[in-house]
């Protein structure tokens, strides 16, 4: 085993720096927007002179707090996120400092569980909901989403007192695209066999993507890519696995950890904490609002129907990264991703790529049982 990548320390250390930075920004009057999802465009937030911080929860300790009001049988991500907000706003000490650092929440109309949870949030934090057309690909959907984005822009202008001008928006688009290009560079190196970085290492980085400032994040990725280019690939001969499915929010690394502890190497994650967050770029030569509407509606979330773009993307990724098998990860009670697994499995079967479906929550009670399934799956694909 070779020493860990030094650049990963950068991401570990950046936490305190970022918290200090956000406190300072707020003291100077900058509004900080909390988001839970990839569908809320950073570009518009930054063009309005606001800051952004993700609040999507992967921790297990805030779930019990959420279950004091939310039903138990909904996904752990929703419960964890809600629990963190409630706890922080009611003087609890469970959650990290994030909630206290934000002025407003900008939520999005994705799955049913989240939508209904967001209806409870205004009791704790001012909440704005961005609507999404859920049948993507039609001109009407783009037109509608464009109007939603403009409305959102207006809301931010009122909140911050800053006007969003087209030039600034284009600058922010270029800057976000730069982040996306860097992530493509990082992910491209994972196509090597064996890859110079493990999935668990990449996950540590991806979980910080929307927590750090874009400058901070890009600097970290740059350092990491440079270090990787000079790193002799670790001698890992295990099967090449793709993770596909639900996000793994900060605090939740269970499945990636099990898969790699069992001897496989994760070469790509088709998830919100993987390719979904950066794969498509925003067209830079287009009218910026339209370009944003088009790019963001291409995010292949399972709340979209029919989600053909996701199915073909998964097959493409499997080929591109030469995967031996796909571990399809569903958060417990996430019906969208769970049901969509059937179409994904069919498409992969045609390509003769095996799939293992794992459904799990944030607790540790099923680690052994998942381990048995992973062991058998890796033996099967080896």
């Amino acid at each position: 085993m070779q020493p860990p990548l030094k650049s990963l320390d950068y991401f570990q250390k950046s936490y305190d720096i970022r918290v200090g930075q956000l406190k300072e920004k707020r003291a100077r009057g900058t509004k900080i927007i909390a988001t839970f999802c990839l569908f809320v465009p950073d570009e518009i937030i930054f063009a309005a002179g606001a800051g952004r911080l993700v609040l999507c929860g992967g921790r297990t300790d805030t779930i019990a707090r959420a279950e004091q009001s939310l039903p138990r049988n909904i996904c752990p991500l929703i419960k964890s996120s809600f629990g963190a907000v409630v706890d922080a706003c009611c003087g609890g000490n469970l959650s990290c400092a994030h909630v206290q650092l934000v002025d407003v929440v900008v939520a999005e109309a994705t799955c049913d569980g989240k939508k209904k949870m967001y209806e409870l949030l205004p009791e704790y934090l001012p909440t704005y909901v961005l609507d999404l057309p859920q049948k993507p690909g039609s001109p009407e959907a783009i037109t509608y989403f464009l109007s939603e984005l403009r409305k959102f822009g207006k809301y931010l202008e009122d909140l911050t007192g800053n006007a969003i001008n087209e030039e600034q928006l284009k600058k922010e688009i270029n800057s976000s695209n730069e982040t996306r290009r860097l992530l493509h560079r990082l992910f491209d190196m994972r196509r090597c066999d064996p890859p110079p970085i493990t999935g668990s290492e990449v996950l540590q980085v991806m979980q910080k993507q929307f927590f750090l400032s874009p400058d901070q994040f890009r600097e970290g990725i740059r350092q990491l890519c440079e270090e990787m280019e000079h790193r002799i690939p670790p001698a890992r001969s295990g099967p090449r696995i793709m993770i596909s499915g639900c996000p793994m929010s900060a605090g939740n690394t269970k499945i990636s950890d099990i898969v790699e502890k069992k001897g496989a190497v994760i070469v790509v994650e088709e998830s919100c904490t993987g390719t979904r967050s950066f794969w498509d770029l925003v067209e830079e030569d287009k009218e910026p609002w339209t370009a944003l509407a088009e790019r963001y509606l291409r995010i292949p979330c399972a709340c979209m129907t029919p989600n053909d773009q996701r199915i073909s993307h998964i097959v493409d990724l499997a080929r591109r990264y030469h995967v031996d098998g796909v571990v399809y990860y569903t958060l417990q009670f996430c019906h969208g991703y769970n049901i969509e697994r059937i179409r994904v499995q069919k498409a992969l079967k045609k390509e003769k790529i095996p799939l293992l479906a794992i459904e799990s929550d944030y607790g540790d009670s099923d680690v052994e049982q998942i381990g048995i399934r992973i062991d058998a799956f890796l033996e099967m694909v080896s």
Binding site: P354, S365, D366, Q369, I372, D375, A376, F377, E379
Partner: protein, 253 residues
């Protein structure tokens, strides 16, 4: 070459000894609190009964839930791979395996002894040997007699709950209503069979199917599956040892 396979299962520990790919002997015993102690004990008994010295065994492979605790094993393999190898040794024509054990049930799709797909039950006792064990207790029938009793039923009772705890209380209320013991037994077996058949059909098993694991000793269960699938199942002479057998075969290389 002499090899051994140990299947450290959740409910029972199994050991198989092989010489040049022929079964020399096997042992089955309940798993005690400690996986390793249980395995050591039956392995020693088996060696003694087979008149083989421990040092003459070239390789020991372990499988089953407790395989990582078997420190004297050279390697561990998953029970899914092990069953596939074991069943292939006994019935090379088999394409699908239904394994119902003490803690879980699985459907394994195989081609020439290699696993091509598999499905395991959810993380609860429904559709496993545990379900039958608990509910047999509520029926006050020894678990070994449950299947035979069920075969005598002409009007199986409907057991709607698949949760072990709820099914237990359902059995008690059926008893209170005066439903015959054999009809309740048949209802329980039909319930488990139905649950496992959903998994089997999801994996598209059609024919050449083996039934293994402790529950395969239950005659009623075999009949219930065969009725659903419309084919005769392959059941090994000792359905509990296919995992340990597969481990011993893999150890042979």
């Amino acid at each position: 070459m002499i090899t051994a396979g140990i299947d450290a299962g959740a409910a029972t520990t199994k050991a198989v000894l092989m010489r040049d790919r022929e079964i020399v002997g096997y042992r089955i015993s309940g798993t005690a609190f400690d996986f390793l102690t249980s395995a050591e004990k039956i392995y020693d008994e088996l060696l003694l009964a087979s008149d083989i010295d421990r040092n003459d065994v070239e390789k020991v492979y372990a499988t089953g839930y407790g395989r990582n605790s078997i420190s004297f094993a050279d390697r561990g393999i998953s029970e899914i791979t092990a069953h596939a190898k074991g069943v292939y040794f006994l019935f090379p024509e088999v394409r699908g395996i239904i394994d119902v054990g003490g803690q879980d049930s699985k459907i394994i799709v195989v081609a020439d002894g290699n696993v091509t797909d598999f499905l395991m039950n959810d993380k609860c006792a429904a559709g496993t040997g545990k379900f039958l064990e608990y509910t047999a207790k509520a029926l006050e029938v020894p678990i070994d007699d449950l299947g035979t009793l069920a075969l005598a039923s002409s009007h199986p009772a409907g057991i709607t709950s698949m949760c072990t705890v709820f099914a237990e209380s359902e059995v008690i209320s059926l008893r209170a209503r005066g439903i015959a013991k054999e009809d309740i037994a048949a209802g329980l077996i039909a319930g488990v069979a139905k649950r496992i058949m959903v998994m089997a059909k999801r994996m598209a098993l059609t024919d050449h199917i083996a039934f293994v694991g402790g529950v395969a000793k239950n005659a009623g269960m075999k009949v219930a599956f065969e009725k659903e699938l419309g084919v005769t199942l392959f059941v090994p002479f000792e359905p509990q040892i296919t995992g340990a057998l597969g481990a011993a075969i893999s150890a042979h290389g």
